[in-house]
């Protein structure tokens, strides 16, 4: 940490707190994290922490499920409870964990990375965040209504989702629909805000091809939100009307069309996978150059392939419906479009490998999580191409093979990518360093846990074990026991992370502005960044990722000139004392 302490500016030794220049570490005014703050950095951290709490909750549900599945018989929980568990696990992990987490990262990083002082609509930003705990509570409340939570799986297919066995107007399914609709409202608010910010508020000199790859991927992802999410909202409204008022949109008994719901659902929910994973691609593109000390390989191709993924992701949804009586020509069409999307994705994977190749690697926790996420993503990509083939997909449809595949994407690539992002930007967010040893322990437990729980699901699926069952044939027991042990290990793996974050935030070493010697606007300001980020809006003169070249990124100093800013801060401090 000698580097960082050398970089500490003289004025930071002055004790007088300056509201414009937050001190490193857990802030005294932590209460602002519970307030209706409009500062994008506060909102970003609010999102991240809220999402992580729900991640723990969803993980707990998963561990109960793995506890049930450690024996072939349904003996730990009731079957209906088990149905509620997998429904809520999926819903919480997607709508309460990955989306808010992603919005948190985007909120914190996008304005800093493009040289803006805040988001375009700060108040809208705060409203979008505060909807998250609200619909989180609504969703959680469904555990306590008669009949328990929704049991129809996270995709809520009718006619199962229309059954309403208790006959109450307020039941698990209707609460689920209201929560999902509110989540949609919140996400649209976020998407309008982020797209406007990226379009309109880039610092001078930052053309589209000088934007960091993370901003590109967030932009591509939010475009998907804007186009796809309203379709899910439309489907959810119609399902809610069917459930509560007795219309017959999706009820086959009354002439409705349940497959239409599947189209509405997957038109959004498949692209939603890219909404989640694209920013993780962005995180990889940010992290690998820093820790390999090399420019991102093929920057332009990488960012353009993000947009290509956006476009293609909107025309692949029927591959979730190969077994829904879909006509043959449609199967063929969507099989090819699904295979086509692996091309831009593959381009990115090759670019990351080429970035890391021959670099001076520093295996920090962030880099380990990045590489771990990349390797699990590669594995998920291979099973993904297998699944895109209609004959194979029909064979393993609704088996654990599918469950294993998408958990490799979401828990493998996405969750590890989130961890990588948190470790990488933790010094920037808090001004403190995390403990590297705990971070590495966290990585080892996570990586082993993920492979231990999700790898056995592939042979299980090929053997024919269906998903969403509380009991199974004893011949599947061996792999299930291993998977369950992996699941518990994955639960344990969060403990060193939580310990690390809490203790580092309060008493970690001071990080300085740029502990990783990274290139990017966010690293040019102090840690944590001051209110409104930049003393002077930066003027960008170079493309990003100029590792190995001595070109400066900006032509001015976003913190203000060194001597001047130190002096003026001192004067401001003295003035503050005088007042």
């Amino acid at each position: 940490m000698s580097n960082a302490s050398v970089e500490t500016r003289p004025n930071s030794q002055l004790a007088a707190p300056d509201p414009q220049q937050p001190e490193p570490g857990a802030p005294e005014n932590w209460r602002r994290f519970f307030s209706f703050s409009t500062d994008h950095k506060v909102i970003g951290i609010q999102y991240i922490v809220t999402a992580f709490v729900f991640f723990l909750f969803g993980g707990l549900l998963a561990m109960v499920m793995r506890g049930e599945l450690i024996t072939p018989d349904a003996d730990l929980v009731d079957r209906t409870v088990y149905n509620g568990l997998f429904t809520m696990h999926g819903t919480i992990m997607l709508f309460m964990w990955t989306f808010p987490m992603l919005n948190g990262l985007a909120n914190y990083l996008v304005p800093l990375m493009i040289g803006a002082r805040d988001m375009a609509f700060p108040r809208l930003n705060a409203i979008a965040f505060w909807l998250v705990p609200i619909f989180g509570v609504i969703l959680t409340a469904s555990f306590f209504v008669p009949g328990g939570p929704s049991q129809s799986g996270w995709w809520a297919y009718p006619p199962v989702s229309l059954q309403n066995p208790t006959g109450n107007l307020i039941n698990g399914q209707s609460l689920w629909l209201v929560a999902v609709a509110l989540s949609g409202v919140s996400s649209i608010m976020g998407a309008v805000n982020i797209v406007t910010t990226i379009f309109r508020m880039r610092a001078p000199g930052m053309g589209w091809f000088k934007m960091p790859a993370f901003v590109w991927t967030v932009f591509s992802a939010q475009i998907i939100q804007l186009i796809g999410l309203p379709a899910l909202t439309a489907g959810a409204v119609m399902l809610l009307l069917d459930l509560t008022t007795g219309t017959s949109f999706f009820d086959p008994v009354k002439g409705g069309d349940p497959v239409l719901y599947q189209h509405f659902f997957w038109f959004y929910s498949h692209p939603a996978v890219y909404v989640i994973v694209l920013p993780i691609f962005g995180v990889f593109s940010e992290i690998f150059p820093v820790y390999a000390r090399k420019p991102l390989f093929g920057y332009k191709v990488v960012v353009v392939s993000s947009l290509l993924i956006t476009v293609l992701s909107l025309v692949v949804w029927v591959h979730h419906m190969f077994a829904s009586g879909t006509p043959g020509w449609m199967r063929m069409l969507f099989m090819f479009s699904t295979m086509a999307i692996s091309i831009p994705t593959g381009i990115k994977v090759f670019a990351w490998v080429a970035t890391v190749w021959g670099g001076k690697l520093r295996l920090t926790s962030a880099m380990l999580f990045g590489l771990g996420g990349l390797s699990t993503f590669l594995f998920a990509g291979i099973t993904g191409i297998m699944l895109s083939s209609a004959p194979f997909d029909i064979h393993v449809n609704n088996t654990y093979f599918v469950v294993g595949h998408f958990h490799y994407v979401i828990n493998g690539a996405v969750v590890m990518g989130f961890y990588a992002a948190i470790y990488h930007w933790f010094p920037k967010m808090t001004g403190r360093m995390y403990y590297e040893g705990l971070g590495k322990l966290h990585f080892a437990l996570t990586f082993i846990g993920i492979n231990l729980i999700f790898l056995p699901m592939h042979p299980l699926g090929l053997m024919g074990m269906p998903r969403r069952v509380a009991s199974y044939d004893p011949e599947f027991a061996f792999w299930n026991v291993i998977a369950s042990l992996g699941g518990f290990l994955l639960g344990v793996s969060t403990l060193p992370f939580i310990l690390n974050m809490l203790s580092s935030w309060t008493r970690g070493e001071q990080a300085g502005d740029n502990p990783w010697r990274a290139i990017g606007l966010e690293w040019l300001v102090s840690s944590p960044p001051p209110h409104e980020n930049f003393e002077e809006i930066p003027i960008i003169v170079s493309p990003p990722y100029g590792y190995g070249s001595d070109e400066p990124l900006v032509s001015n100093n976003p913190k203000g000139t060194f001597e001047e800013s130190a002096a003026s801060t001192q004067i401001a401090n003295l003035a503050g004392e005088a007042n």
Binding site: E7, A120, F121, L124, I188, A191, V192, N193, V195, T196, T197, F199, R200, M201, A203, P204, G205, L226, I227, G228, L229, P230, A231, T233, A234, G235, V237, M238, L241, T245, G246, T247, S248, F249, K254, G255, G256, D257, L260, F264, F267, D513, N514, R517, I519, W523, L524, E536, I537, I539, V541, G546, D550, P552, L553, V554, S555, N556, N557, T561
Partner: protein, 203 residues
């Protein structure tokens, strides 16, 4: 500090842009357009649902129902579409700072929007089927109802803007409210044209 931060001579043209961005730029219209594009996808989804139901349903119309009357809805359509031109003139008056001309034409738009809502309500009252009568009943009331909700929102927004036009210094910070309401009104109009063609014209 890495070499990244080294000062080089500033480019004067870039600096003037930097100075410009210190002012709070107005991004509301851009954001509103993005929102409307997204909102149009909900309508698009409902339209697609309608087309799928209509082309696939075995008994589409409820028993004993011959089809929708087209005359009154056509009058309604003409009124709503013309109101888009009226609101355009209202905006023009505002740009020329003719406040009373603006208020007059703005009020006329509100009247035409209200007439549309009234006509819609009269039509609903006279129909022999309800929203539970098969997918036809469901989609008909869903589409016209969801659109009607947008018309109602538009009229309420117009009322708000009319009230605010009497506030002193209301337009000192631009005319975003009026412009956005007007754009929203055009949006509602275009949606109605598609909806009218799908529901009333397409047999």
């Amino acid at each position: 500090m890495s070499s990244v931060n080294v000062n080089v001579k500033p480019d004067p043209t870039l600096n003037s842009q930097a100075a410009h961005s210190h002012e709070e730029e107005d991004h509301r219209m851009f954001g509103f357009i993005v929102f409307l594009l997204s909102e149009s996808v909900i309508f698009f989804s409902f339209f697609v649902g309608y087309i799928v139901y209509k082309t696939n349903a075995t008994d589409w119309l409820p028993a004993g129902f011959e089809g929708l009357e087209i005359k009154e809805p056509l009058i309604n359509t003409v009124v709503l579409v013309s109101s888009s031109f009226v609101i355009y003139f209202a905006e023009r008056f505002l740009h020329k700072e003719n406040l009373w001309g603006f208020r007059l034409f703005w009020l006329l738009t509100m009247a035409m929007g209200s007439f549309f809502l009234y006509g819609q309500a009269v039509e609903w009252m006279g129909l022999p089927f309800g929203f539970k009568d098969g997918v036809f009943g469901g989609t008909f009331y869903l589409l016209t109802g969801f659109h009607g909700l947008h018309v109602l929102t538009g009229v309420l927004l117009q009322g708000l803007m009319l009230g605010r036009s009497f506030l002193p210094n209301n337009y000192e910070e631009g005319e975003f409210g009026v412009e956005a309401t007007s754009l929203f009104w055009h949006f509602v109009d275009v949606i109605w044209i598609v909806l009218f063609l799908l529901i009333y014209v397409w047999r």
